[in-house]
Symmetry: C3
Subunit: 381 residues, 3 copies
Amino acid sequence: MSAFLLMFFTSVTAFAQEVANNGVSPAVMNDQRYNRAIHIMAMLLIGFGFLMVFVRKYGRSALTATFLLVSTSIPIYIYAKSIGFMGGVSEEVEKLILAEFGAASLLIAAGAVLGRLKMPQYILLGLLFVPFYMFNEWVVLGGGLGLIPAKTVIDTGGSIVIHAFGAIFGLGVALTMTTKQEFEKTIEADATSDRYSMLGSMMLWIFWPSFCAALVTPEQMPHTVVNVIIALCGSTIATYLFSVSLRKKISIADIANAALAGGVAIGSTCADASHTVAMIIGILAGGLSTFGFAVIQSRQQKWMKLIDTCGVTNLHGLPGLMGGLAALPIIHGLNMQSQLSGIGLTIVIAFVAGLITGKILPLMGRRTEAYDDAEEFIDAE
Amino acid sequence: MSAFLLMFFTSVTAFAQEVANNGVSPAVMNDQRYNRAIHIMAMLLIGFGFLMVFVRKYGRSALTATFLLVSTSIPIYIYAKSIGFMGGVSEEVEKLILAEFGAASLLIAAGAVLGRLKMPQYILLGLLFVPFYMFNEWVVLGGGLGLIPAKTVIDTGGSIVIHAFGAIFGLGVALTMTTKQEFEKTIEADATSDRYSMLGSMMLWIFWPSFCAALVTPEQMPHTVVNVIIALCGSTIATYLFSVSLRKKISIADIANAALAGGVAIGSTCADASHTVAMIIGILAGGLSTFGFAVIQSRQQKWMKLIDTCGVTNLHGLPGLMGGLAALPIIHGLNMQSQLSGIGLTIVIAFVAGLITGKILPLMGRRTEAYDDAEEFIDAE
Amino acid sequence: MSAFLLMFFTSVTAFAQEVANNGVSPAVMNDQRYNRAIHIMAMLLIGFGFLMVFVRKYGRSALTATFLLVSTSIPIYIYAKSIGFMGGVSEEVEKLILAEFGAASLLIAAGAVLGRLKMPQYILLGLLFVPFYMFNEWVVLGGGLGLIPAKTVIDTGGSIVIHAFGAIFGLGVALTMTTKQEFEKTIEADATSDRYSMLGSMMLWIFWPSFCAALVTPEQMPHTVVNVIIALCGSTIATYLFSVSLRKKISIADIANAALAGGVAIGSTCADASHTVAMIIGILAGGLSTFGFAVIQSRQQKWMKLIDTCGVTNLHGLPGLMGGLAALPIIHGLNMQSQLSGIGLTIVIAFVAGLITGKILPLMGRRTEAYDDAEEFIDAE
């Protein structure tokens, strides 16, 4: 009888925890997050990787670089968090997801200089990027250095600390990592590489809800994922409309890229916005991003004197900042000062960190020929 | 003590619910369905999208059209269900899955006229399709108009209301949307586009169990998913055998398409058939579908005076109807009259709706050149 | 009141079971495993399938063969386990996962002779392979014949019974299935087929944690999956370093293949090794595998007088054996004799079974032209 009583009390206590957590036990929660973690890994490797295969002669390099960037950054991030660097995390799956967020931001940064680094330089980029990224994450979200109170910046799906940070870091690096010769070289695509690019794009689109909902509560999940999908639908349709309006014919590169801008921009407010607002954010982000690819990109090259190979400014930079700012009117009870400081600090930290990284990378030399597998790969035609 | 008692009663009550639901709390159920929803999204974009890339010069258009069809139909369906149109649904993830089912049916319909619509016509197709689809779903499954008692038609995985509906709707549209000039134009494929097509096919094959089991109970899930996989194995082997028998050599288009017929045909009975019956359904469906591609398709063109670009008649139409009829001998206690009325009504509603849609689409004009990216895309060779 | 008491006792008993199982009810456990099963299916079809598309003119055949091998072996395995052959399994999803493990091993075996079998010979290979595989699994892990006590060989993710077994079986088959003419024929790749190959590789990489953690307890899952990812990161970086060191330039085939060796080699100890040890195993496996592709493979052809088309010796054979042996120093309280006997028996059974199979296959004749779709497919260029 007393054994039954013990079993009974243990059960009631454990179950009360579950009820408090909406019926989800810790082990089940871990498994739910694990599925998100795998979805995000699909985004990192096939999503980002194949999206970057649009450069016709640089496909092998883009995919290998993706492999190396992910394989460098994830173990470092996990190890750092395990020893409590910039705020420790104990739970394994949560740590993995945070590491994947870092890898996503790194891949965005690398997209800005894609084709102009040698393979070991991608690895070095990963080594330098992770501590800067962790520092920014800690300062903006974790209350690091006491600049912004912890958890007062709203950025559930990372519009600010993942997308904008990665893009601006990449621009900082690109300032140094663009040579005169590279300004004159066209980046070519063909039908085969375009379709690979669409594969990457669709892979990102499909799993984006898991990216944004990876760490929300079970209660918030349904609303969050539907918001993300609605925002992506909005940006996809807007991209088509803007692409055909601005260019007369559709650019498949616009479709592959700007269709994703809704996912970037809904990141900060995905758990909180209404579906209607999510649709509006998606449409605005798709329009802004397409305008970026069609109009801004060529002027940016002259004005900033850099080449942003994948146009991360237009896909992650502008929509990311827009998403962070969108929280101001949308979130009730938002600490406005925190949100603005978070955005401002991210811009500064990312750009300075990128500049520093851009000064270090050339110490390993420069490529002879940009955007070409043949320099580093056997049998590349 | 009284706090403990309260906690205790709350816990017991909540847990009794879980036990009744096989140990699955509502929040956990939602998460399980969410994973299915993502799997289905992979089928919609990469599955259907890349399966349609087999048209050599029309790959960019096929993928962009897929993006637009999904992005148009899903928000409309979700919004309509939210306001209670044709039977409301309150739970977010369930609504998302139902919207994805509609998008799948729409992509099937679009497959019939692929290459012969302009991009804005695909969007219009989506706008027109969704209300018709919801009407049929409501009448056949939801007891709408009082024609068929609700829940008496067995169609768990949508053989009837998703596959057959989409295919027959598509044929209705194709009747108008095939010009004389288009009859004379060959639809070309090459090795690259064929391998993309196999990627789409495999993506559909892999996630098909999640499509059919998306809304079954946790108790039914294991039997259902194994049934779907067995049916797909059956149709895959049958497709190879029939393809090589009917054509002397294997057609990769048969493999990419007809291998999936087992998934289509097991749809109605996937939760109820035995594994042996699932294998038989799979083999018959694979054989029927391959026969359709190898023998019927060319005759259908002359007889029905239309071109079915992707052969949706053979992959979704015939196997879908077969699957719906298979319930008659298989399901114990089936309401035969309901099942037959459901199939009959679906055929009529789909065809009439398709015809109407086919009359409206040409108001936006017609393509100059079918099956060619160059008309609408920049830089298409 | 008595109804409440009944509800109460049922609830407490059922929940006590869950608590014992870390808060995971049987129905929830099934669903978790189902998600793993789908991940593994993605590895089998797109992963293994597209990895083998690197043979330029044999893409359609490689993908069709993958379809047929999976569709033949899975239903047979499920049926055999259902009737209690070599140790029955009653739970449906568990049976499905075990069947997929068998299919993975079969695809590895087929990789050794890829391009030198006719399509019906792949089916026959599947029919012959499954019983041998089940016999080895039963003897090594299940206590079959009383040779090794059940559950004393540590092989959580199948380094021994899946990877090494499949590779050695394949070598046994290849001994007969390599003709003189085939020794002189180069296996060609090009940029398009290479990128498909990377798609397959990445698909395997992404879902590998689900392969290894498919049947571990919920408690072991987080540590296991992070171990697998760390090992894969280690082998990916090591592959790059060894490839560029051994060959002067990077071989994309090394990257696509050897990057996965960490997943193969961590298989036995994934639930038990520390993260640091997982990284070391990954690095060693990546190095060993790259050395295999760069140095051993061409010598093996002369020495063993066989062609191993996909280099399964280097990706699955050597890293698989290394993984099995790694358990010796790593696992506390390991039954060393069992582990060594398990490895030894697997080598013997696999090789003899492969030899027998290799004698039976040629009874169906031989291909005229190796590595070429045109012999069996319509419209192949």
